[in-house]
Amino acid sequence: MVFVGGAGVLAIAREVQIPLLAVLLIGGCAAKARRALGARSIDAGIGPTGMFPFSLQRPAAIVIFVSELALGVGLLVTAGRIGVGLPAVAVRAATFVLFCTAVAALAELRSRRPDVGCGCFGDVSSTPVGWRTMTRAALLGAAALASIGVPPLHMLGSVGRFGEALAVTVAELALLAVLSPEIGELMVRLGRAEPCELRRVPVAKTLDTLWASASWRRYHRYLITTTPTDVWREGCWRFAVFPGILASRRVEVVFAIYMSGRHAPIRAGVIDIDTPPATSPSSRYSSLTVYRKSAILKNKINIASNGPG
């Protein structure tokens, strides 16, 4: 058996990225297509398209789908001697740009729509976007960058080199699996466990999760009572509303608790009860966007001073 050195492993690792990226991109497209066929609607997918205005969601979904499919196929076509030179560099550079854009889009999605998944692999990507999803996109971007300049792929000449390539592939897939919330979702669907949308979860358990959270510690001092005035549920999210006083104004603090996983995300928002409803929905909702930052909170509900510290 012939063992290769560190430089050899690095070269193999760079070579492996091309088929790996292609498979992931084409697999993602297949999953998206499956979802679109199931819904009989192209824009039924979840993910970054949800940030676009309604009229642009469909074109955005098509652009994302076509881009991913074209790059996936392009990576395969230009992997050998056919596209050697500029075409291969262009496709791999475009893949790098795609994943860089994805990282930015996911960060924005996490901020604006923290309740939705990335939609990267259709239905199974419904877990809210978190650091794992963003790290995965960044890792794939790095993989695309590493693939630029790789010479045309050829058959591995020895068992040793094949073993090295296999080991690198398995290690990278394991890392991607750790960074993929879709794996847990798939395990639930393949197994007998009930998805969180179908699971009966006692309110007391949800409130226990809430009371142990950082969001609760941040806001509970503004609450009049720790008994929620309303509790309801939407799929995996349960909402609890508490009356409060903030800067001498009556407010309602609403928490959203994700009912799956040990480190379930919890979001909080505040509504100023005394503010009359705005005439325009968009202006009303643009003033209630993000509440996790105290400065934004003070600004959004028009409290100039003595807001939360």
Binding site: S41, S55, R113, E185, P195, V201, G235, C236, T289
Partner: protein, 375 residues
């Protein structure tokens, strides 16, 4: 027809446990206000305005309004038009030769009478104007007018468990909390037609019929809304395993229900899987409410949750709020064959206005539908 002795005791009809035990508080708490508030609070966190796909109208601020549907009471009927009286004023709707009118069967618009409750699907059309066009408008384009496509008068529906049978008269428990059993009389001319689809007109079995509402409150059934499920209402089939839930769109049948305490023009969905923990239910595994699991795996939702319902037969979709608990969607494990054969489940129990707005014809009873969470 099979007639079995009454199950009543001392004049009181025995009521089975409510299928929707979790709905006990909905009518008391004012569902419209409640769901609108929840949508607002939800948006405070997720900033996810929901559009109806047509007018980019955010429904959470006020109940969604139908664009093509008018409900009310007939104030006047002429050969050329009808006037529908509504709470916000009278609505003038023109009648054309292509207008389809239903009053127990397809009839001429002249069969309508003032005082009939109606629901109308209309289209807006520019009238051809012979005079000079106003405001520089192109010639031949006059003012817009509402023209009735379809008119349903005095239409009603009863779906539930047969409690008592006396000849052609049935007493049906709809499973909704606080509602007395409904009296249904099957029209003599329709008896055979109904019996073809509902061969077991005996207590304990399910029935779902459409007909005309009579002045003293009973329903004169003229057509079956679906085919009779083969099981007893108390013994529905087991729900599918959790693995059957994919997290994606859920296909099945969309049906409609008559408004109880709801506004007649409300656009909304009765849903079969309201969260039993938060929607007033304390049902455990031994309770009737828990026994009646819907036959599709549906995610738990609450009043005010947004769902997208798509009429697969008319290719129309809308985002609608969940406004009630649907007993019939829990009881009936049936298919819709309006266009193809749907999976066996009632995924949406629409209000009449929503059903018509989505392109459904009330006398058909259902359309093939796909339901997606729209939050």
């Amino acid at each position: 027809m099979t007639s079995r002795g009454s199950q009543s005791h001392g004049g009181q009809v025995r009521r089975k446990a409510h299928v929707c035990a979790g709905c006990a508080d909905l009518t008391d708490s004012g569902p419209t206000t409640r769901y609108a508030r929840r949508a607002l609070l939800r948006a405070a966190i997720f900033d996810s305005p929901v559009f109806d796909g047509h007018e980019h109208e955010f429904w959470a601020h006020r109940p969604p309004r139908a664009a093509a549907v008018v409900t009310g009471v007939l104030a006047e009927v002429t050969p050329q038009a009808i006037v529908v009286s509504r709470s916000d004023g009278d609505q003038f709707i023109a009648v054309s030769p292509s207008t389809v009118t239903w009053l127990g069967a397809k009839v001429s618009p002249s069969a309508l009478r003032a005082g009939d409750p109606v629901i109308v699907r209309r289209r807006t059309q520019r009238l051809v104007s012979g005079g000079p066009a106003p405001d520089g408008a192109p010639p031949g384009h006059g003012p817009a007018a509402s023209i009735a496509e379809r008119i349903w008068a005095r239409i009603g529906r009863v779906a539930g468990e047969i409690m008592e049978v006396r000849g052609r008269e049935l007493l049906v428990d709809t499973g909704q909390h606080g509602r007395e059993p409904e009296r249904v009389v099957i029209a003599e001319a329709s008896l055979r037609h109904v019996q073809v689809r509902f061969p077991r007109l005996t207590p304990g079995y399910l029935i779902d019929v459409i007909g005309t509402r009579r002045s003293d409150g009973y329903l004169l059934a003229v057509t079956p809304a679906t085919a009779q499920p083969p099981y007893l209402a108390a013994h529905p089939p087991a729900p599918p395993p959790a693995g059957a839930y994919s997290g994606g769109p859920i296909s099945g049948a969309a049906v409609w229900h008559q408004p109880g305490d709801e506004r007649a023009d409300l656009l909304g969905v009765g849903y079969a899987a309201l969260d039993p923990e938060t929607e007033g239910g304390s049902a455990g595994p031994g309770d009737a409410a828990h026994q009646h699991e819907p036959c599709a795996r549906l995610p738990y939702l609450s009043l005010g949750s947004a769902v997208r319902v798509r009429n697969e037969c008319a290719d129309r979709a809308a985002v609608l709020p969940v406004t009630s608990c649907s007993a019939s969607a829990r009881q009936f494990c049936d298919r819709c064959v309006k266009c193809g054969t749907s999976p066996r489940a009632r995924v949406a129990d629409l209000t009449m206005a929503a059903f018509v707005e989505l392109g459904g014809n009330l006398e058909d009873g259902c359309f093939n539908a796909t339901l997606t969470l729209a939050g």
